[in-house]
């Protein structure tokens, strides 16, 4: 493989070929290129050129290209395709990818497109998949799989499998069902090939098979598959019937999307955006948390106005507020990030009391180290006196402990209430810790210094 590299020259060359309608040259150039790479090219083209290319290439290739495109680009291209053309593309796709594309179409087109799909079985399967939540096992699975009846003999089995396998890109397992379509187990290819053709499936199948339920959450499916190193897993419905199969490539996407979402939440971005999204999408994603931060900042203004009398004698206190806010924010983000990850990986065990003691212990260690630095700075460098330096150090240490506790327990509480704890990292924690921290800092300073 000479790795494919998208270049400005390549895009310009392709644009030129499209302008000249050099169809043969285009087909030659792109014939050997992987659909995922063609999708990258199409993402870079203007809409008319992109549509031209999609219409030019074979639909067994363009259907795959469509699944790999940037969502915005796909939406615009689909607008330029007729219902028949879209139906033609969907016919080439596995049911799960086809359902994902249909789900993005405007409602009024869905029925039209589906009624144009020539293979009625395929259409029926797609319609079934549309019923499921996109973040559930049902939303991830494809209908394509290889299954055999436990009452068949090996000969029938092999014949049926051959027919089924035509529609399945990669056969990971042969699933065994009973007359009611209930999942009973799996069959190893080796056993199948080394057994007499008259043997019944029920005599040779392996009754142990991992599966998930159709309404299981996508992230739980990802956990099961990555924990047990599975490349495919069957999906059953409420009656135990085999209804689909999820493959590892879809799980890789789930894991990546989940990670990106958590990362963005921690950075104060409320919806999935990319660096190349337009300015309005980016504004919508970023402004809400900034407003929250602003409100928190205005809250701090009030708090400091409340301690205004300290300005005469202890004005240095006000110079230390950004430091206090930064410490409260950083400690809170650290604590919450570790807990959020721990919750995601199921490693947060043990009692809440133990966790509380651990966080306090950790804060005492970190806080002491930082307090010593503050005392050295205050006493030797900033020359604000030992008593004042000690006050700041003690107040800061208390802020650090409280910040760590907030950072630890807010995600745990959210998680217990069924709310995604990931929203508790980033701006949410920094903002609330800023306010609590600054208040606590001034309050303790007031108690100690007595202003």
């Amino acid at each position: 493989m000479t790795p494919f590299k998208l270049s400005k020259e390549l895009i310009e060359h392709i644009e030129q070929l499209i302008e000249n309608k050099s169809n043969t040259a285009l087909l030659d150039l792109l014939g050997e290129v992987h659909y995922a790479d063609i999708a990258e090219i199409v993402d870079e083209l203007d809409l008319p050129e992109a549509t031209y290319l999609i219409k030019l290439l074979d639909s067994d290739k363009t259907s795959d290209v469509l699944t790999e495109l940037d969502e915005d680009v796909r939406e615009r291209i689909l607008k330029n395709l007729s219902n028949e053309e879209i139906a033609g593309e969907l016919l080439e796709l596995d049911t799960d990818d086809a359902a994902d594309i249909i789900a993005e179409l405007p409602e009024e087109r869905v029925q039209e497109v589906i009624s144009n799909i020539e293979d009625k079985e395929h259409a029926k399967d797609i319609v079934e998949l549309l019923r499921y939540d996109e973040n559930s096992a049902g939303g991830l699975m494809a209908k394509e799989l290889v299954k055999v009846n436990e009452n068949w003999n090996v000969l029938t089995c092999v014949k049926e499998m051959r027919a089924q396998a035509e529609n399945v890109t990669r056969v990971h397992s042969i699933y065994v069902v009973d007359d009611d379509d209930k999942l009973k187990g799996r069959l190893s290819l080796k056993d199948l090939l080394t057994t007499s053709t008259k043997t019944q499936v029920s005599e040779v199948y392996i009754p142990k098979v991992d599966y998930v339920n159709v309404h299981d959450k996508a992230e739980d499916v990802a956990k099961v598959m990555s924990k047990y190193d599975l490349e495919a897993i069957p999906v059953i419905d409420e009656m135990g019937r085999l209804v689909g199969r999820i493959t590892i490539d879809d799980i890789v996407d789930v894991i990546k999307e989940e990670a990106e979402k958590d990362y963005q939440l921690a950075a104060g971005i409320t919806q999935e955006v990319e660096a190349d999204d337009n300015i309005w999408q980016l504004t919508r994603a970023r402004l809400p948390w900034l407003v929250l931060g602003l409100l928190g900042g205005l809250g701090s203004v009030f708090i400091m106005e409340g301690f205004e009398e300290a300005l005469n004698e202890y004005k240095e206190l006000f110079f230390f507020t950004p430091l206090i806010a930064a410490m409260a924010g950083n400690v809170g983000v650290q604590s919450s990030a570790i807990i959020v990850q721990g919750l995601a990986n199921d490693v947060v065990k043990g009692s809440l009391l133990n966790r509380l003691l651990k966080e306090v212990g950790l804060s005492l260690i970190n806080g002491s180290a930082l307090a010593i630095l503050v005392i050295i700075f205050g006493f030797f460098i900033d020359d604000i006196g030992l008593r004042f330096s000690l006050t700041i150090a003690v107040s800061m240490m208390s802020v650090i402990i409280v910040a760590a506790l907030i950072g630890t327990f807010v995600p745990i509480i959210l998680d217990k209430r069924g709310i995604d704890p990931a929203i508790a990292t980033g701006p949410f924690i920094t903002t609330s810790n800023d306010i609590f921290g600054i208040f606590l800092f001034f309050y303790l300073a007031k108690l100690i210094l007595g202003f």
Copy 2:
């Protein structure tokens, strides 16, 4: 599958059985449990019990258990096993997993353990794998694969494959090599089975095959495999020789680890830790960034001391510093997170000038919205006068623009210099933006208000 659920009762039950040395009961209880679940159990046991269990169970199971254990737990258990026992476990593992375990052993034991591995071929393969960086394709690959020579006929091929397949858990592809072991392509199982046994491999193989080089970075391998939806990829060395194979389960681990590392960096945690690590590990991971934050905060103290003369007439300026710092920090984190993710996904394209204009535009929109809120607050609620409110709003807006630019360009510059841009998010950006922001805020206020 009744999903396995780790419970306190189960652990206590197992501890009881171990104490009573009820080996038969233990074997019965754990016989059907998946090795990944047994690893979760072992992680929860005390060292003597954990070691007892590992020694009790079959080594074809415990070897897999070892690969799934928490790193600390594994290290302690391995200390309790003899070189012969470890060698016995390694014999059961694929070469990649075996090499990963050996790499964790203290140097003085490595040679001893390897010389105790009975299968000398297996030992040789492991030694070869130990040569590679753990974050490279060589560090991820296993030596187990199925390969055939292009000069063989189909009959020889099938015979050889059968022998090789015994050592390979999952045969994803049959790779074709020439007499020098150079990777030439792959063979489809279907073609192999439908071709006359006398046909030469060179006549039927597919010369197109994706591959990676042994020194490619692990994250690049992950990108290729997830982009092209591959379940396995062959690895070649500098001479084009087929040296190993990487499977998707290892890539899933790479993707998860990469995401966790980035998330932790963004949260100001410098090394991989888990919620259940001990307090010293957590301190080591968290203190460095806190010290950085502290130094930044002390920098702010100096800056504000420099603008002390504003205290008489414009003391409110000091009340607004936490707000300014929060805005600078939040905007910086948002910008950098989007860029870091964009760089990771290769979607940061186009010229730097365009990106600069976009960030400035975005900051103007967000900044204006926030400035209006600040003016409303200052004028109507906090009663600090229109001129003063406007000053704060204008200064804040400038801070937001500068913060966005720093957040955008620091990661880009780091990336261009070959440094992981992920370190630029979180504390690094918030701290530098705090300092720049506070200075800029006071400086502009001074210019406008003239104190």
